[in-house]
């Protein structure tokens, strides 16, 4: 009975989340007294996973698996699961990993649980802690079933180094046929995404119009941050939908979340609650967001942001 970690890569390089999942997988495999097997697809720096304690590393190399698809990747993983006698699968909470996890659960009839925030509280019965009601609450949840799939919330588990001496193996697998074809991918290159960012700079209706976003982008650039926005801002088309965060948008679990001209409605807060440190800049001292913030500045964003940018630049 081993633990399998699906190690995500992008353009052939491991993503940061794959070190989080490997660290979690290692700790769990030690508790279970089992081995940690990491699986990646078309990845060139997979040996890095040894630093996090992999006992075996499987690299699936195939030009047919160049594009991520939940279906074909799941079928390959299900073959590894069977061959390696896997009892728990660990995934990150990226959009792709959650996409894959649900489908994999379907074809393997396993028990899938997402938004897990810590190592299991007990192994027998198997009890995990997860966030629910969009971070307004947590639950301890018992999972039944022989094969379990756990997707862990981003930034909820610390990356731990742990020497491993995993041999890298290539595997034979049977390809599944699929009519699903990726025809094109459009990516804004160079931009940090909300899911991967350590810092997120977010702005709301207080910014008054899309023409004022240059200062938000500049602040984000100085901090190496991703940009985000409140729901009305994306509904009005000031910013793309992909930047909408909150209960009905994207979740944010960054180390630092800076909210500018956002009132702090309950639906907004629900989505950003699991960010570690929150800074609020708002002209209204009564804005509800201040109650949910760690640091706050009461004042006009149009004065504060340019000055903050200058000071941050000067500091570098």
């Amino acid at each position: 009975m081993s633990v399998l970690v699906y190690s995500e890569s992008e353009n052939g390089k491991l993503k940061k989340s794959s070190f989080e999942t490997a660290s979690y997988g290692k700790a769990l495999s030690q508790e279970l007294g089992s081995k940690l097997i990491c699986v990646s697809f078309n990845c060139s720096d997979i040996e890095l996973l040894n630093k996090y304690g992999a006992d075996k590393i499987v690299n699936v190399e195939s030009s047919n698996l160049k594009d991520f698809t939940a279906k074909t990747y799941s079928h390959v993983l299900s073959q590894v699961i069977e061959k390696e006698n896997i009892s728990v699968v660990i995934l990150s909470s990226s959009a792709d990993a959650k996409y894959l996890g649900a489908y994999l659960a379907g074809i393997t009839d396993s028990s899938y649980i997402s938004n897990v925030v810590a190592l299991p509280e007990s192994l027998n019965p198997f009890i995990v802690r997860r966030s629910c009601f969009t971070n307004k609450a947590f639950s301890t949840t018992e999972i039944n079933g022989n094969l379990k799939i756990i997707s862990i919330s981003s930034n909820s588990y610390e990356i731990n180094e742990n020497n491993g001496d995993g041999v890298i193996e290539n595997i034979d697998y049977n390809e599944v046929s699929s009519t699903f074809k990726v025809s094109n991918v459009e990516k804004q290159s160079a931009k940090v995404t909300i899911a991967d960012a350590d810092i997120v700079v977010s702005a709301g209706r207080g910014l008054k119009g899309p023409e004022h976003w240059h200062m938000i982008e500049e602040l984000a650039e100085v901090l190496g941050a991703a940009t985000a926005c409140s729901k009305p801002v994306s509904d009005m088309g000031w910013r793309p939908h992909s930047e909408h965060v909150g209960q009905t948008g994207k979740p944010v679990a960054s180390n630092l979340y800076i909210a500018i001209g956002i009132s702090g409605a309950i639906q907004h807060l629900a989505g950003i609650n699991s960010s570690k440190v929150k800074v609020v800049i708002n002209s209204d001292p009564e804005a509800p967001f201040f109650k949910a913030a760690d640091y706050g500045v009461v004042g006009d964003a149009f004065d504060i942001i340019p000055e903050l940018i200058n000071k941050l630049k000067a500091r570098k």
Binding site: A70, K71, S74, A95, D96, K98, Y99, G101, A102, Y103, G106, S111, N115, I127, C132, F133, T134, N135, K136, A137, F138, S139, T140, T141, E142, N144, G145, S178, F180, S183, V185, E186, K187, T193, S234, D235, H241, Q247, T248, G249, P251, L256, Q267, A270, K276, V277, V279, F290, K291, A293, D294, Y295, G296, V297, V298, D300, I304, L308, K311, R315
Partner: protein
């Protein structure tokens, strides 16, 4: 073309989240339930496809009779028919398996779910249905067009959009972008009247065992007091973020 839209009945976003039975159950007392927002984007798209693709639209929920109100609302929005699989929705696994059992007896060309529900945010149901039925599957779906039996779709991915094509049958996880917020249909009087004539079938559940059982709920710790910094002391803010919070 037959479209099934799976609807989840979720607490209104402004609901106070409380628990009963020694914190083991969600307290429904005084809570208003709504159509899960991601499902509503999917439903709106399906209603449009009645015109563009001559589709027939069935909405389905797994739940007890308290879910009938939102099913009627879905009919008023424009669905042709509603089905309720009669049992308590225990977890995503048992819900998905109930839907799978229904879809094995009645074939749908497209099964639309929300990408995730706003109560448990599991995102499990659409993938599980697709995996069990061996259908194609696209989640975080922001565009869907059907032409001569083939689907052209777009999926929001980290930092961009992925365009794809596949055959039907297909399961999608809908989200904003598939239709816009301003496209959502507010039922009018005529829709509400017509909804009363449309069928709402209650069917027997398979009573599948759940796989995830919540033992205890708890709320996050209350936040400490916010530290305010004056607008003309931004150096102090930078210092706090750098040396106290250690986040920059």
């Amino acid at each position: 073309m037959n479209i099934l839209v799976c609807i989840s009945n979720v607490p209104d976003t402004t609901s106070k989240i409380n628990f009963t039975d020694s914190d083991s159950k969600f307290d429904k007392n005084g809570v208003q339930f709504i159509i899960n927002p991601n499902d509503e984007f999917g439903l709106t798209k399906a209603v449009w496809m009645k015109d563009s693709n001559k589709a027939s639209v069935t909405v389905l929920t797994v739940g007890d009779s308290s879910a009938d109100t939102i099913l009627r609302k879905c009919l008023a929005i424009g669905a042709d028919k509603a089905i309720r699989i009669d049992c308590e929705a225990k977890d995503a696994y048992s819900v998905a398996k109930e839907i799978v059992a229904h879809c094995e007896s009645i074939k749908y060309d497209i099964i639309i779910c929300g990408r995730e529900s706003i109560d448990y945010n599991g995102g499990l149901v659409p993938g599980l249905i697709a995996g069990c039925l061996d259908y194609n599957f696209i989640t975080n779906c922001v565009s869907l067009e059907i032409e001569s039996g083939k689907a052209k779709c777009a999926r929001e991915i980290s930092g961009g959009t992925e365009f794809s094509e596949c055959d039907l049958p297909l399961v999608i996880g809908a989200q904003k972008g598939l239709v816009e917020e301003s496209d959502l249909i507010i039922p009018n009087m005529r829709g509400i009247m017509m909804a009363r004539q449309k069928p709402l079938d209650v069917i027997k559940a398979q009573n599948i065992n759940s796989r995830a059982n919540d033992k205890k709920f708890f709320k996050p710790k209350e936040k400490g007091e916010v530290k305010l910094v004056k607008p003309d002391e931004l150096d102090k803010l930078i210092d706090l973020l750098e040396n106290e919070a250690k986040v920059i």
